[in-house]
Symmetry: D2
Subunit: 389 residues, 4 copies
């Protein structure tokens, strides 16, 4: 028994983590958005920052876009710009939660006119995907209610199903729908897609192009996320992750910063299910807010955290694990897993980076690069990008 | 707009709540089982107690049985005894969590011999259903793991699916499988059926005779149970409730005692979905532990709590609610719901009982009846029933 | 045994609920602030709205102010304006969470200059209290950290203690400090005053003028709030409530809308501890956000919810309760409490209002009054008040 | 900057972890207690097992006793036996939750006779401490209520204070009281000592010999335990830990198995507060249940988990941390902490053991020792120790 280090390294080399354009912009809480120097003012500048993260880590070759935050006149041009920078455009994220019309819901709104408007936005996102060549349409609905009785739960499900169907039917052959779920916030009583079961049920109804997106911060306290990962892998309905971490609710902290062992357990299910390779079709995306910490190094650190968790998951001695599990040896099975977790994989990853002509320490290299000083200077004027809330 | 009181009364008269035989026996926590005087020593005595609850409430005509706790040689005889007492045998509850073999799981155990044994027990339960004429097989699995790595999550799902399929195929035309889920306890890391999504997915795979059982105490903090009710009603996969209440985990307190407003919201979804009538095929069962309070009056009180929540749910002015919802009038829609909740329905229910030749106050009538004094005397000797833990 | 209805009515007549000026302004989530027509544009207009709520309910005679949101040049003039409107200025709420300097904390910031600035703001709030004649300084600190290691927990406590001491020492003889606690948000790892224990410990150190403020939405899931109420009453350190309700986190919904039974249990402890009367020195304040519902009727409804919970709490047959408790009769003791909770107190409260020359139905009366139409027209232009986030 | 390895090793050598006698006996959930071969049948055999753990780890020199589970006629003899085995008797744990009288509480029971009986048991525990030379009396009360109204919360606090006072006054000069808190279980509505604040308040009232005991599994979801550690260290009221881990409630899993990062953060506060050394007077105890895993190696593993977390905490570059904190460099401060956490300290600990003439791998050495085979054979007959529930 043991682990083949060459295959570990190969797997790590092929790993891809998608960066969210909005993580480079300003974000905050309902109490305050603290601004930072050097924040991008345009989709292009966000892409440039994302490309910088990729340059120092080597595993972040794509950038998820958020419409309308990243709306441009010419998406082909934007794609070309990304390519030039060394990255590609990734998933298109819809936004049906910031128009005044959406106060009581978007696709589940009791008002048919507003549902139409929301659905049209989703269809527009597919148009953009056609232009950008994006594979994935990521749908998150803030839809829900704040008070018991406010609206009819079942009716809202019907409205949701109708809108999803229309959008699904519009997808091209190589396009997919990722349906995200979230327990609460901004809705505080019911949320129309509150858990994986709801997302799964809708995806099942829709067909093979619809899969579930797991945001690691969107669960009730005590939820076992790796169970959901394993379950969805088994039924082939896991489409993507939105990685971040949390101690309380949807805190959107750097992935791996609150519970690195949980991130490892999640990646271990991914490895166990042969789902790490980009060819498996699962998108590993970050979805975070860097409210108080400097954004680019925070994202580099997040990427490294996912890499480290992945490396540990790859180091699990699967044969030894299987054997202990089959024998019902609880302590030994746990020990095999913990043995990998307790390994310091940072030297392994540093070596890997160096073998690919990168610096072994991406944070230090970024700091030395002068990129930050440059953007602070270049972006002193103008309107910084944010959530537009 | 308004509510038709005759139809409210008719609905309340037709309501049926199933009692769990085990709630009449001793129960407790891992720290201590406190015994009580008068506790039944046999399935027959549990049935007699349940029949007493029915005599004073009029809406509890069936008794769920738990195998092997209620194992008898002759189930036809037990059925006849129940009939004599004025009730009928209800759901058969399997028990694959108390044999030493089940330490690491029953139908999901890594050991094929133990899985076979567990599945055989489930099949035996169907045999008993044939004998008792029970419609429902209720399956709750304590299966899970306590430590990361202890067993393979996906493999356990495969084993679960296999066992469920075998049992499902054994069901007769008029028999059903109710698949219960539970977040945790006694398993403390993964549970093999932890949430409604898992139960739903398996039921969907199995076919129309398999439906989800919602135990109101089995969710993560913050879970919106009425959403699950509404969702499962919409997809026609809600089979049953195990009612109880909780402040923390699976506390198994009297239903309606911890959050009566939540119980009302649940019943309101039931009324909205036309699922209250016994003909709808949804079983409304209690599943509680009366660790410190006297058992029979606690169960009478629980039945009354469900009745009161139901009466309030029936009083909701559905037309006014729909109108306010359609208009997006958040406060008015909420007010319509709250108006029903804030109504004191106890006089209405007392009248209803009296119109059916019962005492308007079941607790007082029970206390006056001398039943308790009689059982305390009759059951002074022998081995009191309990969970056999 | 029984309840003296005259004393119930007297207690209800004397009840006082303080309204937060900011609840009349716009609020929202980090995703979106939806605006509403008729929202106040100045402290004066907020006071006018609050006075309107008082006019229709009779129990909301004071308005809490928030500095700097309600900063004016002349507080004596503002006080006079309030008096004219029929209300008075209440607690002064400090705000040390919206200046760019406070990104890493205010009074607990590692930077001494920023701590000084924050403390100065608190002292300024006491100056304002001198001008307004307010009794209470309410302190809520968003201070905390987002990441393990970010700052030293103990050092931050020292800094907090130092700032509190300086402000405490500045208080006049008739002035008090209310120290609020909150589990999380906007800080996502540690919060410097996260729970009642921390607030209590600091208040104890400070002296008799410092007491704890319980915000009903600021607890971990499963926290028993009425226990905290009872405990703080026993040790005479309960100073105030910030009422609101929540299903998940700090949802800031209308008080009583998520768990009316919990609100009743809280008020029942208040009644048990003879702490309802304004003379007891406990401030009953609302602190809510009306993100999607119309604000003034939402606040009227909230006031009514507190009144209804209070009326039910006053109806508890305390003698019967004591007797059942002393006898260890669990079911009877619970039944005595539930009997009061299940009573429909709306007619009692309507009568009370009518006996005081108000309309029995405050919401209907408000709607008929034309106030809303008037403010929508009067306030069509200008900058609506909000949180300034 | 950096860390002095000699002082790290010295600190690790001086570390002491106390083992609970009851962890060697059978335990389970309310559903089932699974037995294991080789389980002790007497206090002596528990001590022998604990001594075995100490022999292989070198840091577990004392055994906490539980009265009446470990009641013997001659405690001096038991002490001598322990000494012979190479360990000493540690804290005395009281048990006022398993007598039928305690159904509605022990020291908070409404019945004065039962309170007297419970207090007498606590006083008896101090007598035993006199005989064993134990320093610490650990008090955990299961006292609480299951239903709103069941008993008076304030009265129960008064009763609690009275009993604690009487016991406190009985303590000798070198004896201490450790007051444990727990959110819930077995009480399901109120618990009389539910949180650290309650424990702290009582300890403060009692005096310097009373301190708080933190059981890491006894908190509401989301509670930041290391904050409590830091806070209690600051006010000098932290007396002890009951270590274990949990994913959900009081799961009592092996410490460090559910969230090793949390354990590290706790130990990091201990190191920061100079509280690791036995001379600091803080007792580091395990309190766990090994329901399904083999007990002795589970306890060895638990001890090692605490050691590893401690070693990592000692490796934190405190100077670098202080510097980054002072500069408000969020990412760097977090990185300094994570750098220590991500270090693989197993080689360091193996070396340390070997330098002390132990095997570097305690689990492997234990397995080779034949101890388990011996006890399975020796203890085949007789009544295995358990909780006696």
């Amino acid at each position: 028994m043991g682990t083949d280090m060459t295959s570990v390294q190969d797997a790590l080399k092929r790993q891809e983590i998608e960066l969210p354009s909005w993580a480079f912009g300003n974000s905050g809480t309902r109490f305050k958005v603290f601004t930072q120097p050097g924040v991008p003012r345009s989709p292009q500048e966000k892409i440039a920052d994302a490309a910088t993260v990729h340059r120092f880590t080597g595993v972040a070759p794509s950038v998820a876009m958020h419409i309308p935050w990243d709306k441009v006149d010419d998406y082909a041009e934007l794609s070309a710009y990304a390519k030039e920078q060394g990255v590609r455009l990734g998933a298109i994220n819809s936004n049906v939660f910031q128009d005044d019309d959406y106060k009581l819901g978007s696709v589940t709104n009791p008002d048919a006119r507003i549902r139409r408007k929301a659905t049209d936005h989703l269809l527009e996102c597919v148009d953009i995907m056609d232009a950008t060549g994006s594979r994935d349409l990521k749908l998150w609905f803030s839809d829900g209610t704040n008070y018991p009785g406010q609206d009819d739960i079942q009716d809202r499900q019907d409205r949701l199903a109708t809108a999803l169907k229309e959008v699904y039917d519009r997808l091209g052959d190589d396009q997919r729908m990722l349906l995200e779920y979230k327990l609460f916030e901004p809705a505080f009583y019911t949320t129309d897609v509150p858990d994986w079961g709801t997302s799964y049920a809708h995806c099942l109804e829709l067909g093979p192009k619809a899969t579930v997106c797991i945001d690691t911060g969107h669960h009730a306290p005590g939820t076992n996320i790796e169970f959901i990962v394993a379950f969805l892998l088994r039924v082939k309905k896991l489409g993507a992750f939105d990685f971040n971490s949390r101690f309380y609710a949807d805190d959107d902290l750097m992935v791996g910063s609150a519970d690195p062992f949980q991130l490892f357990r999640i990646m271990s299910e991914i490895v166990r299910g042969n789902a790490l390779d980009p060819a498996s079709g699962i998108a590993f995306m970050l979805d975070q807010c860097h409210n108080i910490e400097v954004k680019i190094p925070a994202i580099i650190r997040s990427v490294m955290n996912v890499q480290e968790a992945t490396a540990k998951a790859l180091l699990v001695d699967r044969e030894a694990l299987k054997k202990a599990q089959a024998e019902g040896d609880v302590l030994e099975a746990n020990a095999v897993l913990m043995d990998a977790y307790n390994t310091d994989v940072r030297p392994l990853l540093a070596d890997l980076r160096e073998s690919q002509s990168m610096d072994g320490d991406p944070i230090a290299a970024y700091k030395r690069s002068g990129y930050f000083e440059q953007i602070v200077q270049d972006r002193a004027d103008g309107q910084q990008a944010g959530w537009g809330a």
